[in-house]
Symmetry: C2
Subunit: 86 residues, 2 copies
């Protein structure tokens, strides 16, 4: 399936979460990732993140789409590079 993952994670835990998300997905904005994953990989991703986040102060949202990519995407502003998303 194709997913968009967005997170709001405290700066203390951010680098760990970032590393995990990057193993499975493309990093497309500071706190936004997207990509194709199997159900199995998605389970692993969620499991790894669950071990890192503070459930009272952090939030992860995962939008799942069956086979579709978004029908359109528009990006306004800076273009992402490995420098400006860290």
């Amino acid at each position: 399936m194709w997913i968009i993952l967005t997170y709001d994670i405290s700066v203390k835990r951010n680098s760990k979460a970032l590393k995990i998300c990057r193993k499975y997905l493309s990093h497309v904005q500071k706190s936004v990732f997207e990509g194709e994953v199997t159900a199995n990989k998605l389970d692993r991703l969620k499991h790894e993140l669950a071990n890192v986040i503070d459930y009272e102060n952090d939030q992860i949202a995962i939008y799942e789409f069956d086979t579709l990519r978004y029908s359109a995407k528009e990006v306004i502003g800076y273009q992402i590079t490995t420098d400006n998303v860290l």
Copy 2:
């Protein structure tokens, strides 16, 4: 159409951008909004945001879906309230 809007906007300009996005969409995570908009409203939203952001340092991504909502959404962690997203 149904959209997900995510932004990475400097704290200086954040409150203005937040106010604009909230006029058109539901605020579902610190920097994430979603909702149904007409093409006309989406144009207005983009126009208003374009007047606020710094194109070199800020980024807005808009995912557009024709008639679909996401096929599934999972939220892990805190639940959003008007207090914790400001």
